[in-house]
Symmetry: C2
Subunit: 765 residues, 2 copies
């Protein structure tokens, strides 16, 4: 871990070029708009190590799973977001020599991710082998105002003498995923067209048949004057390009503006893709780069207005927090209910760009608080839309009823690489039900229940009923053969967290049934019929609720992570030789599984989710028991611990845990940032601040804060949206100010005291 990027409140600044850091910076400085994402690759040729990556949300490929011996129920494929047409490419040739930073002598260099405006800029000077010195200033966006448009302005100046520039903007669809399981290519050529004015390229994914058309136009200006061009047209399989040669005087800047539209058959009729792409492109091209940029920046201004966190007195923390918020917004915007949040967003290929329980457990609160509630609602709709697949998934595993949501998915089907996770880590089902509670509790919007969410929760409850069984010897219900959130265990019996969320789901399903019966009897009648709700079934659930087995140790007063946990050798992380960490790099998987060490919050995850059911003493005993055995080797672990530590008054621990995620990628903490960013853990960092330091909760439909400020900070402030109101909360060492920026009065509970803040007023406590 080293501090490589310059500290800055709004920008990520790399101000020299280190080829060893290039792939990391490509991840860090990725840009995206929730529809497409682009790693911070160079426009011009680069023959050094790079992960060229252009990704389109929802365009995936079912790559055949790698298993030793296939067994029934194993996922047949691992879905992968596809590395798609490289639309940024502009090769540059200067007096016959390619501009390639791997072969040039670099003078100055800066790559800057401007988070305020959502732009990636790059400036450098370089000397080529042929002696020519050039200066390049490039800027690009994935437009947040025009989701299908990408725009680049690339300015090149030869500093020492006149030169002939050969400029070759192109679209390259002959792309391979780095993580292809069997080294296959996933795209087939469909069509291309190429005129002097405009080029299009259409490719199609194998198996899934997504069709993807890119269209490109460019103009070249010198001294502000557009040149008249007669490009040489190149039209190969899965590749179209234009080549123009222009003369440039010494110190004369040649500016290339390349505008691209990227459209897919997910959104448009396949037959009309080329015409749609062309129309969108012509429209954007006509508006020009500056206009596109201004519209893009305006969208970002609005996002920051609603979701910024300001830290006073700690630039590194400020930068880290904004970096996380920025990437969250780049990854998901709630406009398309078929999309979700991949653990790496559009910044790399690992984890396949698919949906995990991270969405419900970690990301939902971010979108609930920082955006209109319809965005969070889309995440609930996403799961409901995949309910039939979840029911099929349960059936495939031999269950007779209910829905088991997949561990990893693109389209609702299970597509993880490892059977032990897909079969056993079923606690995910609980988080998907919990998201309904989380949403309704925060927004007060109960309409989702009768519209669809009752069905999601009900079918999940049915799964749990089928998954538990009566253990005659115990005289209780048990759940065998699971893996809890702590993936450093496998196939355990009676994981407390899983038993807990399962039972909670049954309770919540009964609660929703009663809610509808009472409040929306008409809707209830419809659902009663559609779901086939019977009193027998509801009574069975009550019986499970009343008789569920929860492993507990009387002597320690803690819930047991699973049966037999106390048979393990109980060692604390602090007593390990530090050279043994991280365990997942130093120990065999076997040794990890047998050890007591915990990857991420497990029992504590339950105490976090259902925090209002457990008193502080209980939380404290469990925290004190489990946290010392926790290695936090999941990026999702520290945030939960940070939040609980805040609640328990463990201020130092809270800040320590917060630090472990806040600059995880910026400082390449896990040595894997080149693979992409830890997007879903960024939401966890946001939670550490808002639910941890600020202590945000909902108490009886009221927003509640219980602020604490780390010693290292002077103050911090943030905005949250809550039921139509926008609040600006400023936490200082000795006081908290809340400004109600909305048009109506808002009640909040601040450090236990209920107060009302009139519209457009500030309250200080």
């Amino acid at each position: 871990m080293k501090q490589y990027y310059q500290f800055d409140e709004w920008n990520i600044i790399e101000n020299s070029f280190d080829a060893h850091y290039h792939e990391i910076s490509e991840s860090i400085c990725s840009i995206g708009n929730g529809y497409m994402g682009q790693r911070a690759n160079f426009e011009e040729q680069y023959s050094g190590k790079t992960l060229q990556g252009s990704y389109m949300a929802g365009v995936y490929y079912p790559d055949k799973t790698r298993v030793g011996w296939w067994k029934n129920g194993y996922p047949e494929y691992f879905a992968k977001v596809l590395n798609s047409t490289n639309w940024i490419g502009i090769n540059i040739n200067i007096d016959g020599e390619a501009l390639d930073l791997a072969n040039a002598e670099i003078g100055s260099f800066s790559r800057v991710l401007n988070m305020k405006e959502g732009t990636l800029t790059r400036s450098f000077t370089a000397s080529l082998a042929n002696g020519k010195q050039v200066k390049v200033d490039a800027i690009r966006i994935c437009s947040y105002a025009d989701k299908e448009i990408g725009a680049i302005r690339y300015a090149i100046t030869v500093l020492n003498g006149d030169a002939e520039l050969t400029i070759n903007p192109y679209l390259d669809g002959d792309i391979k995923n780095k993580d292809s399981n069997y080294d296959e290519k996933f795209w087939d050529a469909v069509d291309s067209s190429n005129t002097a004015d405009l080029a299009t390229l259409t490719i199609r994914t194998r198996k899934t048949g997504f069709v993807y058309t890119s269209a490109m136009k460019f103009q070249i200006t010198q001294s502000g004057q557009p040149l008249s061009l007669s490009p040489i047209i190149e039209n190969k399989t899965k590749f179209v390009g234009h080549t123009v040669t222009v003369s440039a005087k010494a110190n004369q800047t040649t500016v290339i503006e390349k505008i691209v539209s990227n459209v897919t058959s997910r959104d448009h009729n396949e037959a009309s893709l080329v015409s749609v792409a062309t129309e969108l492109l012509n429209n954007a091209f006509e508006r020009g780069f500056d206009t596109l940029l201004a519209a893009h920046i305006a969208v970002w201004a609005n996002k920051w207005n609603e979701s910024d966190i300001i830290v006073d007195g700690d630039v590194a923390a400020q930068q880290g927090i904004r970096f996380n918020i920025f990437h969250m917004h780049q990854t998901y915007n709630g406009e398309d209910s078929r999309l979700n949040i991949g653990p790496k967003g559009f910044t790399g290929e690992k984890y396949g760009g698919s949906t995990y329980w991270d969405t419900e457990a970690y990301c939902l609160p971010f979108y609930l608080s920082t955006a209109d509630q319809k965005i969070a609602r889309q995440l609930l709709v996403y799961r409901h839309n995949q309910l039939e697949r979840a029911k099929e998934n349960a059936k495939k595993l031999g269950f007779t009823k209910g829905a088991l949501y997949p561990m990893v998915t693109m389209n609702g089907e299970e597509c993880h690489n490892e059977w032990e996770i897909t079969f056993e880590e079923i606690h995910r089902n609980g988080a998907i039900a919990y998201a309904v509670l989380d949403y309704v509790r925060y927004t007060g919007d109960t309409s989702v229940i009768s519209e669809f969410a009752i069905e999601t929760v009900y079918e999940i409850a049915r799964f749990w009923e089928d998954r538990v069984h009566w253990a005659a010897r115990k005289g209780q219900y048990v759940m065998l053969g699971v893996t809890g959130p702590n993936e450093y265990e496998n196939n355990v019996n009676n994981n407390w967290y899983t038993n807990r969320v399962a039972t909670w789901t049954l309770e919540y399903a009964l609660e929703l049934v009663n809610f509808l019966k009472t409040n929306e009897p008409g809707a209830y009648t419809i659902w009663e019929k559609q779901l086939g709700i019977t009193q027998t079934e509801l009574s069975k659930w009550q019986h499970i609720i009343d008789n569920m087995y929860f492993p507990y140790d009387e002597e320690l007063g803690v819930y047991l992570q699973q049966d037999g946990f106390l048979d393990k050798e109980l060692i604390q992380v602090k007593d390990l030789d530090p050279s043994q960490l991280p365990l997942n790099q130093k120990w065999s998987w076997d040794r990890i599984l047998r050890s007591c060490f915990i990857k991420q919050a497990d029992v504590l995850q339950g105490l976090f989710f259902l925090g209002d059911r457990y008193d502080l003493e209980t939380k404290k005993r469990n925290f004190d028991f489990y946290e010392p055995m926790t290695v936090h080797e999941s990026s999702l672990s520290p945030c939960v611990h940070s939040i609980l530590a805040c609640e328990l008054g463990y201020n130092e621990k809270a800040y320590e845990m917060y630090l472990r995620t806040s600059r995880l990628d910026l400082d390449n903490y896990n040595n894997d940032t080149e693979d992409g960013l830890h997007i879903t853990s960024m939401a966890g960092t946001w939670m550490s601040v808002i639910k941890g330091f600020a202590g945000l909760k909902i108490e009886s439909s009221t927003l509640s804060f219980n602020p604490f400020i780390p010693e290292e900070w002077k103050s911090f402030s943030f905005k949250v949206m809550f039921r139509g109101a926008l609040l600006n909360v400023q936490v200082g060492a000795n006081s908290t100010h809340i400004t109600n920026e909305s048009d109506h009065a808002v009640q909040v509970i601040l450090s236990g005291k209920r107060i009302e803040i009139p519209a457009k007023q500030k309250t200080t406590v």
Copy 2:
């Protein structure tokens, strides 16, 4: 399951051709000699579905493992016995048309595996599209007298008119393994030579660098006269062939004798391979096919004399038993201590041709009783030779001392496809120690202890010491995270069988230490130093022995397969809908893991191994509890149950279990015989007869029998070798005869009575 092959006491007879059964017959009628093996493929071209297979013992390739996400300690490769040069090929062309049974009209057809003589013969008549009718009679052997020699006599007669025959014997090294993980080829070309007289082909395995040279010669005779030939020579990459064209009169038989030598760098200096192959071949060719055949048959006659089992009154059983004995001898002959017994022998590619614990647990008793003790001894030497690798294997998993033998291996390194098996199914280590006991008890040869076996057992004991740990709450030693022999469980705690063999190993290690101290103090001193034996260590082992936790249920009076087993839903197999069987084809892996159903003997395996420690009542209670939940979906399961059932007087159950293995492959019971034969389970069948029906045991160094005869049989008889004596045991419904065929008197215990049988005498009881 259907009876496809004709019942016959000595032959496996397929007397019509069914293309759907072809790959099954290719497995069934495989021939081999412990050095090489050859599936019953056709010599001439066959364009239908076939698994062409020629395998050389010990020539393997480390194929990269397929895993979703690699974790530390995972096996990096899955070693595979290599499909090698096709040496049997003789393409035939008749008047310009290829002889290909996939395209010809077949008249009569028979394929016969003659188990008495170790030959594969084939006869057929066929009509080609060009109207020519031909008759072929082919016979081939993998010589047991000359291990590197394969010989074929192929006689072809055109029945309706004169014809021009184009005959093309060849060696084809451009071979691929069917089960290549990434569809790669494993052989590179090295060299070839081809003269009118003799062709050689040399290829080399990738990664492992085994070099393999085949040499071939052939002659063609008509009416008993060798033809003088001027073959066209073909010499391509990894292929050499000769093509000759001869004229044949109607009904004149043209006989091709092709002799091949196959040698490898495992046995010879790489530089001399071609000359060694040439010399062996010239020598064999000079002797001629008939002489080679006679020598081969003589070896088989001797093997049958020592190991035959004769069943009177049940031809199907007779055929089944001989089939098993035959293939055991074909797979392993103890001549090379670097070799072992792959689960499929040389009859297919599944399971990689590698060594499993099957060898010690199931195969060793067969070789102990049916061959000179030096053959069984080689199996002990094999493991001892791999001890250093087993110590490395333990180290890789994070253990500080001791040896963990691999689950699957070629060269001592772990190379299974599935982490959950390699990490957890460590009970195999116990079986490897147990083999020493088994060998010494049977042969009385204690020399192995001081020569090397003390080291094997001692290092395994050290592993167990490291693998168990003291569970403070229980006040006992426990062993967490294992899989027992019942692979329908995963990652369980305190598997009774594993705890049992672990503790037994510690006991046996102490016993061997004491044995040496007492009987071979000189050897003990050497080992004490070399192994670093200390009293502290031995005392620690005694402490573990005295304080090991064995899950047991007082109420049922049974050992528990593992912690929490009684929390499962306990259902009996008979109460399952039969359509749900076999579970491994009908149920998801998840459902299987959660169920109580047992794949193969687990607790019962322990009661079988350590049978002298448990009384009949204990065995009965455990058998009655576990057998009804056992689905016997491992081919290794029924034999142990059959043996225990005999002991418990459950005669019907014993015979039922016996039937499940005896004709497993012949009747394609598991629908997978096309992949190869279940070689190691064949040893189990042999045990069912000898240890089950005949009740063979060793009691205080004396051979003991407790015979029982299934109602379906009139009598059965078998030979066993024991400490230099050869006994012929005949079991009838009312009497048992034992003939001592050796030169010295032998004591036996027959149905509890000790008797002495003088040399060359028969005793009847």
